[in-house]
């Protein structure tokens, strides 16, 4: 397939501090002991999309990510790593690497997407409609764990306020309206309603940050609209808005390679009017607008904005908050364990002390050791961890090389790599940044612990 994939992997996301750090950029954040980027790359590989550009924010992060990819996916994917400055937005990042784009269509996917929806399906939909842009929509995930929700409470409240309003045509193939995060009332253009007749407004769908663009359209928009920063908030709404009157294609030659709609040969008034009066069915509602009433050679065009709606049973979550991190970790070891790709190596069984129980939905990394009478429930423990006796780990994520002293109780928390928990530490709904040392006997609740930045 003549598809180029751009994976927007991000860098040091502020939403995820203290989980991410200079040493551990967001793409490498382990989800069930496996970097989050792996999930996307694995799905792409499965769909036979092997020509990739991975865009990472920041040079250092790019080096780390590049090293990991070349170590893991060597000979399996053709990957280029591109480093872009931080905070230039998704559209900015694409603009920066625009000259690398050569294929007819570009698939843009966010590196933090954990999903079992095949990207190939999106690409196929895009090709089938010869669309300018195709976006993937999925059901809004149920956020927050069932019991401990306090750490995510804030995120949750925020999420409720921001939902997408998506307008679809009756066949649910075309995207007619998109708005994000509305404070005001939704404003829907009557023009598009005239064209399509009826539009379904959905507020239970989410833009999953996976898009297929026609390269020429994408580059044109990025060139012309140099203030656009975000794909989701600027580029996509712009394309949707202008789909009946495509400016993106106006200053191209009509015979260009990317004739987005059926080009209509000259027609005289009479024939055109009579067609409308006869209510002749056009292939789609775009058809009527792509024709030119005065019969002169047409430069007006329309472009199609399509959607691929993932089935409601599929899994599709973005790792863009700590809450989402907890949710995804819970899900991939639980309900959505089919996501775990085969290269998620499960090492030789860890050493367990006597009377230590490991419940279902748990992962233990290679080389980890646990003392006596420990309890692990619905948690993930990374590689080479040393866990003392009488330790309880519930609903938590423990990354690599963590040392946990005797008698610690850890609930709903994230413990990053190289953390040392001394004896009898009690943590509830906390995040402990990499390399942090928690002193013996301390108790924390819903706090974020991290080393001071040097």
């Amino acid at each position: 397939m003549d598809f180029q994939v751009v994976v927007l992997a991000g860098g040091n996301s502020k939403n995820l501090t203290p989980l991410v750090s200079k040493e551990l950029p967001k793409p490498l954040l382990p989800v069930a002991n496996c970097p989050v980027l792996n999930y996307v790359l694995h799905q792409l590989e499965q769909s036979n999309l092997k020509d990739l550009i991975v865009v990472v924010e920041g040079e250092d992060a790019a080096l780390l990510v590049g090293a990991w990819i070349s170590g893991t996916f060597i000979d399996r994917l053709h990957v280029e790593i591109a480093a872009v400055p931080e905070d230039i937005g998704t559209a900015g990042a694409l603009r920066a690497i625009s000259h690398h784009l050569t294929a007819k269509d570009i698939l843009v996917v966010s590196g933090d997407l954990v999903s079992d929806v095949p990207p190939g399906a999106l690409a196929a939909t895009h090709r089938r409609h010869d669309a300018a842009v195709t976006t993937m929509l999925c059901s809004i995930p149920v956020s927050g764990p069932l019991e401990s929700g306090s750490s995510g409470g804030k995120d949750k409240a925020k999420k409720l306020g921001r939902y997408n309003i998506i307008g679809l045509d009756p066949s649910k193939q075309f995207l007619l309206h998109i708005a994000t995060e509305i404070e005001k009332d939704a404003r829907i253009s009557k023009r598009i309603l005239h064209a399509v007749g009826q539009m379904e407004m959905r507020s239970d769908l989410m833009d999953a940050h996976m898009y297929a663009f026609k390269r020429s359209v994408l580059q044109e928009v990025l060139d012309v609209k140099d203030t656009f920063q975000s794909l989701k908030e600027d580029v996509l709404p712009y394309l949707v808005r202008s789909q009946l009157k495509s400016e993106a294609l106006l200053n191209r030659t009509p015979q260009g390679e990317e004739n987005s709609t059926e080009k209509v040969s000259s027609q005289n008034n009479q024939a055109f009017i009579s067609r409308i009066l006869a209510n002749a069915s056009t292939p789609s509602f775009h058809g009527i607008y792509s024709e030119n009433p005065d019969g002169s050679s047409s430069t007006r065009k329309t472009h199609k904005c399509c959607v691929y709606i993932a089935s409601s049973s599929s899994y599709c979550v973005r790792l863009n908050s700590i809450q989402a991190f907890m949710d995804i970790n819970r899900d991939v070891t639980g309900d959505a364990d089919h996501l775990l790709s085969p290269n998620n190596i499960i090492g030789p069984s860890p050493k367990l002390g006597t009377k230590t129980t490991v419940g279902p939905n748990c992962r233990l990394g290679e080389g980890s050791e646990m003392g006596d009478k420990c309890q692990v429930k619905r948690s993930i423990i990374g590689r080479h961890c040393r866990i003392g006796s009488h330790v309880k780990v519930v609903n938590s994520v423990v990354m690599n090389h963590v040392t946990i002293g005797d008698g610690c109780i850890i609930q709903g928390s994230v413990i990053c790599s190289n953390v040392q928990l001394q004896e009898r530490v009690e943590l509830k709904d906390c995040q402990v940044g990499a390399g942090f040392v928690v002193t013996a006997g301390s108790e924390y609740k819903a706090e974020s612990l991290a080393k001071k930045e040097k």
Binding site: D185, R187, H194, M201, S203, E233, I276, D294
Partner: protein
């Protein structure tokens, strides 16, 4: 029909939970409270107008009867006497199991008034069907009624079910095939609840605003532009009391439906019922009259078609949808096109061609007449060689030989068109003069205030005006009788929209091109809005700010014009200064301007007047200006309260000298001095202005330099004063 009816009534009575069973009732509004069918409705109520030779109300009543309604209340207002007389003499007064009761009102001006009156009568005891007397339908009410009742059981707030039907408006004219304006509705696809309703009455913007809570509450909402409102409503009793509670509700849709949709306190809900295979439409205007007539002839409304409805008069349906009464006298050489109706006792001459038309009873049509797409009612005489295209010709009209009706002509009762006369397109001709007072908001059908029937009135009027007309050779050619109604300004462009004639091609092309331009504007607008809204960066915020400035600029220009007009009027009519001040103040408030703007605008008007009064030299101009300033200084002064406002006047003057009134450029210092002398400008203001200008560009300082001497003098005077003070 009978079988259907039995089924429906049986179902109602079998409803187990409805212990106290009420007969299904209907309210039929025999008045549309609009003026769209004028001038015809000046003489006969709309519901009695023939639709394929049968009065409209018969279609409605026949449908109600077949749909299982047992009691109908016919509300009559305009020409109520005619409606009552008609119903009493018709078969409807003596039907078993179907009672028709009339309710008469003389002062109702809207559907709201009608429903309030019916509420007072206390005749409705349960769910009822609300319909107007111009509705043609063959839908079965059973399912809609059942849905309504089921919803009521679950939710007592579900008080109304509206019937809708698929009908996509034309993409060019944005109106449906019935000639009604496009309609936007939002409907919940699962519950079918109506969430939003917008007809063209509030068409202004290119966007629809849906309330955010509406979207938050309904995960899926379908916005429809492809539905037609059939104006058949199944209502619960509460609807009547709601009209009484909200005494300002007039229009069923515009007030009542929208009122309920926005009011979330009472929580009343409206639902929709979509019909797919059956027919329902309301005759709203001449275009829908045309469309529905054709639908009837093409038998979409079966069983409500002419040959079934008047079974006795033996109308035969022939090939290609031609209907012919039994005793028609046809010349052998007359040609009948398809879809044509010819009523009883009509005579048609040689070589006459008729197609797609309805011709009523006892008409006499001569030879070589061409009739296309027209509706000719009863007792019409058309002499030889006439041509009619897409016209409506009412009872008793006489077309003298060779008369031509261009598309869209309406000839009201007993009009006579003279020989060879060509009635221009879209003309409305009546024996009655056009009512002179035209209130655009008027909702009232021409109410028959004198209790005499329209028929009598027109006779009387006919007698009165006929001599007049013949004297003046008439607007309708020699021997013609009738007035051609003038179309009100602005409405002319829209006349074709609701006419019986098809929309001319050139209009369509023009509309298409206009629309393109609109779209361009809209797209641009959209961009500006979204850029400032979505990017949230300062650099892009400018776009909207510029827009804001632009707007206020425009406002100011029109304000200035108004002030100028006011001032000129004051000058020419010698209005007292106090009154002029009041007027300008009123303008200021209505345009939301500051008094600074008033000062500037008045000064501008004064100087403009001075320039425009005749003068030969600069000194004369100066004198003109001096005169005006002297006369009106009080007016100007009353808007100059502080120094800033005075500076504004100087700036304004400067601007004028540069742009609109360059003649003043040479006189700048003199006028400034004049204003100082008249104590309009204080020396502080002038000096402040001078100081401000000191730092400006060289080009800006032209006038400052010119008035240097004067300012110098002012400064010295000030210093002297200061000295004296010391």
């Amino acid at each position: 029909m009978g079988a259907q009816k039995k089924g429906a009534t049986a179902r109602v009575s079998e409803d187990p939970e409805e212990l106290a069973r009420h007969p299904l009732q209907a309210i039929l509004l025999a008045d549309s409270f609009t003026t769209k069918f004028r001038p015809i409705t000046l003489e006969r109520p709309k519901v009695l107008l023939p639709l394929v030779n049968i009065p409209m109300i018969n279609y409605t009543l026949a449908w109600l009867e077949s749909a299982g309604v047992e009691e109908v209340f016919v509300f009559c207002c305009a020409h109520s006497k005619q409606v009552i007389d008609y119903l009493e003499s018709s078969e409807w007064s003596s039907q078993p199991n179907f009672s028709v009761t009339t309710i008469e009102s003389h002062n109702s001006i809207s559907a709201g008034d009608a429903l309030r009156l019916i509420y007072e009568r206390n005749v409705i005891h349960g769910d009822f069907v609300l319909i107007s007397g111009d509705t043609v339908s063959n839908m079965s009410l059973t399912q809609a009624l059942q849905e309504h009742k089921d919803r009521r059981k679950k939710d007592a707030n579900a008080i109304m079910t509206m019937v809708v039907k698929q009908s996509k408006p034309s993409p060019i004219t944005q109106q449906s095939r019935l000639g009604t304006d496009e309609l936007f509705m939002a409907i919940n696809p699962v519950t079918k609840q109506l969430l939003y309703y917008e007809d063209k009455a509030e068409y202004s913007k290119g966007f629809i605003s849906l309330d955010k809570t509406l979207i938050a509450d309904n995960p899926s909402v379908i916005l429809h532009n492809d539905k037609q409102d059939c104006y058949i409503d199944i209502c619960s009793q509460e609807v009547l009391s709601l009209f009484t509670d909200n005494f300002d509700y007039q229009h069923l849709r515009r007030h009542f439906v929208k009122g309920l949709l926005v009011d979330d306190i009472m929580g009343y809900k409206i639902f929709t019922h979509e019909i797919h295979s059956s027919y329902a439409a309301r005759i709203d205007n001449f275009r829908s009259y045309d469309t529905i007539s054709k639908d009837i002839i093409q038998r979409w409304t079966y069983p409500f078609v002419p040959d079934v409805l008047c079974g006795s008069s033996a109308i035969k349906v022939e090939r290609q949808g031609t209907y012919r009464a039994s005793d028609v006298t046809l010349s052998r050489s007359a040609q009948f096109g398809s879809f044509t109706f010819i009523g009883q006792g009509t005579k048609i001459g040689n070589d006459t061609k008729i197609s797609h038309s309805v011709i009523g009873e006892r008409c006499t049509i001569g030879s070589n007449v061409t009739i296309e797409g027209s509706y000719i009612w009863n007792n019409v005489t058309i002499e030889d060689g006439c041509q009619l295209r897409n016209a409506i010709v009412c009872d008793g009209v006489i077309l003298k030989s060779g008369a031509v009706l261009q598309p869209g002509v309406i000839l009201s009762f007993k009009v006579v068109v003279g020989q060879q006369f060509v009635v221009p397109a879209y003309s409305k001709v009546s024996l009655l003069q056009q009512p002179t007072q035209q209130d655009s908001d008027e909702e009232l059908e021409y109410a028959d205030s004198t209790s005499g029937t329209g028929e009598l009135r027109s006779d009387k009027l006919n007698g009165d005006i006929a001599p007049d007309l013949s004297e003046t050779a008439s607007e309708l050619g020699t021997g013609g009788v009738g007035y051609i109604w003038t179309v009100f300004e602005g409405a002319y462009d829209e006349e074709w929209r609701h006419s019986v004639a098809p929309i001319p091609t050139d209009k369509l092309v023009k509309l298409m091109l206009d629309k393109d331009e609109d779209e361009e504007l809209l797209t641009q607008d959209g961009n500006v809005i979204s850029a400032s809204r979505e990017l949230k960066t300062d650099s892009d915020g400018n776009g909207s700010e510029d827009d804001g400035n632009e707007d206020s600029r425009d406002d100011y220009v029109s304000f200035e014009k108004e002030v100028e007009a006011t001032f000129l009027r004051a000058v020419h009519e010698n209005v007292k200064v106090d009154l002029a001040v009041l007027e300008v103040n009123a303008l200021r408030l209505s345009y939301n301007m500051a008094s600074v703007d008033c000062g500037g605008a008045i000064f501008y008007s004064m100087m403009k007047l001075a320039v425009e009064s005749p003068h030969n030299s600069a000194s004369e101009l100066h004198r003109n200006a001096a005169d005006i300033v002297t006369t009106w200084q009080k007016l100007l002064k009353s808007f100059l309260h502080d120094i800033d406002e005075e500076i504004e006047v100087i700036l304004k003057f400067e601007e004028m000298c540069l742009e609109s009134a360059k003649e003043f450029a040479a006189l700048f210092p003199q006028i400034l001095h004049l204003l100082y002398d008249k104590e309009i400008l204080q020396e502080d203001a002038i000096l402040r202005w001078a100081d401000e200008k000191e730092g400006a560009d060289e080009s800006d300082k032209v006038f400052l330099k010119r008035s240097e001497k004067f300012i110098q003098w002012l400064r010295e005077a000030e210093e002297e004063e200061d000295d004296e003070d010391e």
